[in-house]
């Protein structure tokens, strides 16, 4: 599986080239065949792993024998070591964000300097001359409750899903209920977690690419909420125009090069989204196993280990949401 995933990432990165004239990444299709090979290797690895796990009833759960993890399940320690490395990945992304956020001037501060005038305001911005500045995505997202809605709903969805995975573990470990009830409850809670994860990614797509429309309902006014991409908030945006960056007196627009800010936003939230997508693949299998009655008090720890990963995904969102979406 590691070989497959590694190959996929290498090949995927090579399939795009940066076009200087177009100022955007273009798909070259180079190495497409290797990408399919990588997908096949990963799928076979996953299939073999799941085939072995499907019959795992917890009879042999290896325990560490050496210090300092003596008598702790090896899989649990392994999961924490994995989460440690994940923590490093997200810290790199977060420190990059902080570095640029604190180092570059905010675009609205640059706009507040006023329109350039050779005598009265020589340090002001000029129309059609893009300024490199930091434009946080929150300037668009937190501009109204409707813009914020997908991110806010996602936050609640992740917290609820963290709770449902704990409930799945609780019912899998219960010894005082009959097997059929346990099977139904564990399947229900894992299935609910799966649905919430799908909801998370769907709303993410709505927020990034699709946008949404609220018709006039009398008590709610009509709203058309554009996606971030439709607003021009993209990684290649070197002539970005926020609707508020207009000089009232002259009608001149300030344009900004926001590639750095958009990149930090999309890469960080995208990496988090990729982790949610990975979780969905795992949850799909686990819900199937639960439906077959595969989780019992003796092997419920598998749900606990997946739960650790899922709580970590929630943990990262606890930091990402306020600092990328709200502030």
């Amino acid at each position: 599986m590691s070989i497959g995933i590694g190959l996929f990432l290498f090949v995927f990165a090579g399939m795009f080239d940066y076009d200087l004239e177009l100022s955007e990444h273009v798909y070259t299709g180079e190495g497409l065949i290797w990408m399919f090979v990588a997908i096949v290797i990963t799928s076979i690895g996953m299939f073999v792993f799941w085939r072995q796990d499907l019959s795992f009833d917890g009879t042999y759960e290896p325990l560490a024998t050496g210090s300092p993890f003596k008598n702790i399940q090896i899989r649990k320690v392994g999961m924490f070591v994995f989460l440690m490395s994940e923590m490093m990945v997200f810290t790199s992304l977060f420190s990059t964000y902080m570095r640029y956020r604190l180092g570059l001037r905010r675009c609205d501060d640059v706009f507040a300097d006023g329109l350039f005038d050779p005598v009265a305001n020589p340090t002001g911005w000029q129309e059609a001359v893009p300024v490199t500045c930091f434009e946080p995505a929150s300037h668009l997202i937190a501009s109204s409750w409707w813009h914020l809605a997908p991110g806010a709903v996602n936050t609640f969805a992740l917290i609820i899903s963290s709770f449902t995975i704990v409930q799945a573990l609780r019912y899998a470990k219960k010894t005082d209920i009959d097997e059929e009830l346990r099977r139904r409850r564990v399947t229900m809670f894992l299935g609910t977690t799966w649905v919430l994860a799908i909801l998370f990614l769907t709303l993410k797509m709505v927020e990034w690419f699709v946008g949404f429309y609220i018709p006039d309902l009398g008590f709610i006014h009509e709203h058309e909420i554009k996606s971030l991409v439709a607003e021009g908030y993209t990684i290649g945006a070197d002539h970005y125009q926020h609707h508020s960056y207009v000089d009232e007196a002259t009608g001149a627009h300030m344009t900004a090069n926001i590639r750095v800010s958009a990149s930090t936003f999309y890469v960080t939230t995208g990496t988090h989204g990729a982790h949610v997508a990975g979780g969905i693949i795992g949850l799909t299998y686990m819900t199937y196993k639960a439906w077959r009655g595969g989780y019992t008090p003796t092997n419920a720890v598998s749900i606990e280990y997946f739960g650790l990963y899922w709580h970590f995904v929630d943990l990262v969102w606890v930091i990402v949401f306020p600092f990328f979406y709200l502030y």
Partner: protein, 120 residues
């Protein structure tokens, strides 16, 4: 699973309620008009929002790690917490020395703290 209670109730439910309430406060803080508070504290509205978001994010982080991830109250919590905290050293380095430095830090350092060329 946890063998303890929070205020006499199931810790997972209590943690869930707590997280929901804190998130609602977080979202509310962004929409709330805090111009008068900002003026009274001689701070910008953005600055106050940042403080509120940071203050709320910290307990949320610990609530998930300690209760949902069982890093509190289980027999193996201690050593696993130490394992989870291992990258803290690197995180501090990254946040303090990369995250908080100025982009010009490498070239804009004062002469007294720049290494010489050592005749090379």
């Amino acid at each position: 699973m946890a063998q303890y209670k929070i205020l006499g109730r199931d810790p997972y439910w209590m943690n869930f309620y707590g997280l929901m309430i804190l998130t609602a406060i977080e979202v509310g803080a962004v929409g709330a008009d805090m111009s008068s508070t900002a003026e009274a504290l001689n701070m910008s509205e953005d600055g106050i929002t940042l403080w509120i978001l940071t203050i709320i994010a910290i307990p949320k982080f610990f609530m998930i790690a300690a209760i949902f991830m069982h890093l509190y109250g289980d027999p193996d919590s201690g050593i696993l917490t130490m394992t989870a905290l291992f990258p803290a050293f690197f995180i501090i380095i990254m946040i303090l020395f990369i995250g908080l430095t100025h982009p010009d830090a490498a070239t804009g350092l004062p002469a007294w703290c720049r290494p010489g060329t050592w005749g090379l």
